[in-house]
């Protein structure tokens, strides 16, 4: 065993010195390789942690939501629908929700204006998200004014700011009283944005949804399960521009790595010839070159993964921010809880370390099986 180990150490010595002879090439390859692993691992860690966070945080989202659609567009729902839903068997409660969007020209940002179902602020008061406070530089007691639907100014005194730790769900919230909401948008009494329905027996959710759909054909029903599914597919690897751009880089890298690994340079062929001439066996040469590939690919994986973990979970994924932010002025300042999927990491390890190592072996085997004299010429 110690003989085998000392032999592997010697081979590793030789592999390292061989890599060191081509220092520029090796370091360049390591940097590009590490960068690819870094980007892939960052995207993987970020999307998995975000999906996990969404799953946990949105577990208590409304069970059934009923929207009214007119000509394919979302419309205000009348309280007659509310009464009709309450009359359906299996419905525990139905409550109208009031929420919408408000563009604030002062910050050029969109807020989500909402009337909380319980403990709403008093008229003329507002509770705002940390993102709103940041873009407007607002503090408790400050006054914020907006133009109502008829052009009149409606003022709100900031009563409280929602804790920044909840920014991922509340950054752009602007919570107001029902009277203020209706005044601002000119929405008459008896009209709501949508309706939240709770069902007596959780197993009957789909049946109740079908009953609502049959009773009120102008509505669209959104179940909690569908909300969950929406967030399961957030930044799905198959979708989106990011992957499209990334796939170009990954393909370029694979071509580069394949070219580098499979096409032997004249110097490398000569090296193999000399090794064979001084008595090395084909198996030794293959082991040596496999070690070279393993050292480069393993180092790139370890460095790339470490940097990706720090980037996503320690530094708040600053490289993704411009992509996610788009044209938004208001972006939540959040730190993801590091939920790591071991299987994903293992897959990344497998697809980054092994192909390169294997791509090294084939041409070496071909060169190493030829007569040394022929290889050196």
């Amino acid at each position: 065993m110690s003989g085998w180990f000392s032999r592997q150490r010697s081979l590793l010595d030789f592999a390292v010195s061989s890599l060191a002879r081509r220092k520029g090439k090796t370091l360049g390859l390591l940097a590009v390789y590490g960068l690819i692993v870094f980007v892939l691992a960052s995207a993987m860690l970020f999307s998995h942690a975000l999906r996990h966070e969404a799953k946990q945080v949105l577990a208590g989202t409304p069970e059934v939501l009923v929207q009214r659609l007119i000509a394919g567009r979302h419309d205000l729902i009348p309280d007659t629908h509310l009464a009709a839903i309450r009359a359906i068997r299996g419905v525990k409660s139905a409550q109208g929700r009031l929420w919408g969007y408000l563009f604030d020209p002062a910050a050029a940002a969109n807020y989500t204006l909402m009337v909380p179902p319980a403990d709403a602020p008093a008229a003329g008061q507002a509770v705002i998200g940390a993102g709103v406070a940041a873009v407007r530089d607002a503090a408790i007691g400050d006054v914020m004014s907006f133009r109502a639907h008829d052009g009149a100014l409606v003022s709100f005194t900031i009563q409280a700011i929602i804790e920044p730790e909840s920014a991922l769900v509340s950054a752009d919230l602007f919570l107001v009283a029902e009277a203020d909401y209706r005044r601002l948008f000119g929405i008459p009494d008896g009209r709501f944005t949508d309706i939240v329905v709770t069902v007596r027996n959780p197993r009957e959710v789909r049946t109740v949804a079908e009953k609502i759909d049959a009773a009120l054909p102008d509505t669209r029903i959104i179940l909690r399960d569908e909300i969950r599914r929406t967030y399961e597919s957030v930044f799905d690897w198959r979708e989106g521009m990011v992957l499209l751009l990334l796939s170009g880089a990954v393909l370029a890298f694979f071509i580069f790595a394949w070219e580098k690994a499979s096409g032997l340079s004249a110097e490398e062929r000569r090296e193999i010839g000399i090794l064979k001439a001084v008595g090395w066996e084909t198996a030794d040469v293959i082991a040596l070159k496999s070690l070279e590939g393993l050292v480069v690919s393993l180092a790139a994986f370890l460095l790339g993964y470490l940097l990706a973990w720090l980037h996503v979970f320690q530094w708040g994924a600053p490289l993704f921010e411009p992509v996610l932010k788009g044209w938004s002025v208001l972006y939540p300042d959040f730190r993801l809880t590091p939920h790591v999927d071991e299987l994903q990491v293992a897959t990344l390890f497998f697809f980054t370390v092994f192909p390169y190592t294997l791509a090294n072996v084939v041409p070496i085997w071909r060169a190493a099986t030829v007569d040394p004299d022929q290889v050196m010429r």
Partner: protein
């Protein structure tokens, strides 16, 4: 006595592997430490009846993807094309 290059490489690989292992430990520790915060966020969602993450605030269908329909991105006028950048990274709502 000078260190053999194989030993240096093995030591560096070992150190990097330990560092990767440390990220697993740190992840597990932080998941547990940050659980109360996550529960507070979940409680806020339940209390206010929220449906979406406030990730993309630029358009209504990216702010509340679960509440929008597949046509929301193209509703502004006939032949309108989706033009908000985050529409490119966020897939449309999954229909049942």
């Amino acid at each position: 006595m000078t260190m053999r290059s194989s030993d240096m490489v093995l030591a560096a690989m070992l150190a990097a592997s330990v560092a990767v292992g440390a990220t697993w430990v740190a992840s597990a520790w932080r998941v547990r430490a940050e659980q109360p915060e996550v529960l507070r966020r979940a409680a806020l969602v339940e209390q206010l009846g929220l449906t979406d993450l406030a990730l993309f605030t630029e358009a209504r269908y990216t702010r509340h993807p679960s509440q929008s329909d597949r046509h929301a991105a193209f509703q502004d006028h006939p032949f309108a094309l989706e033009h908000f950048p985050s529409g490119s990274v966020l897939p449309p709502r999954r229909q049942p």
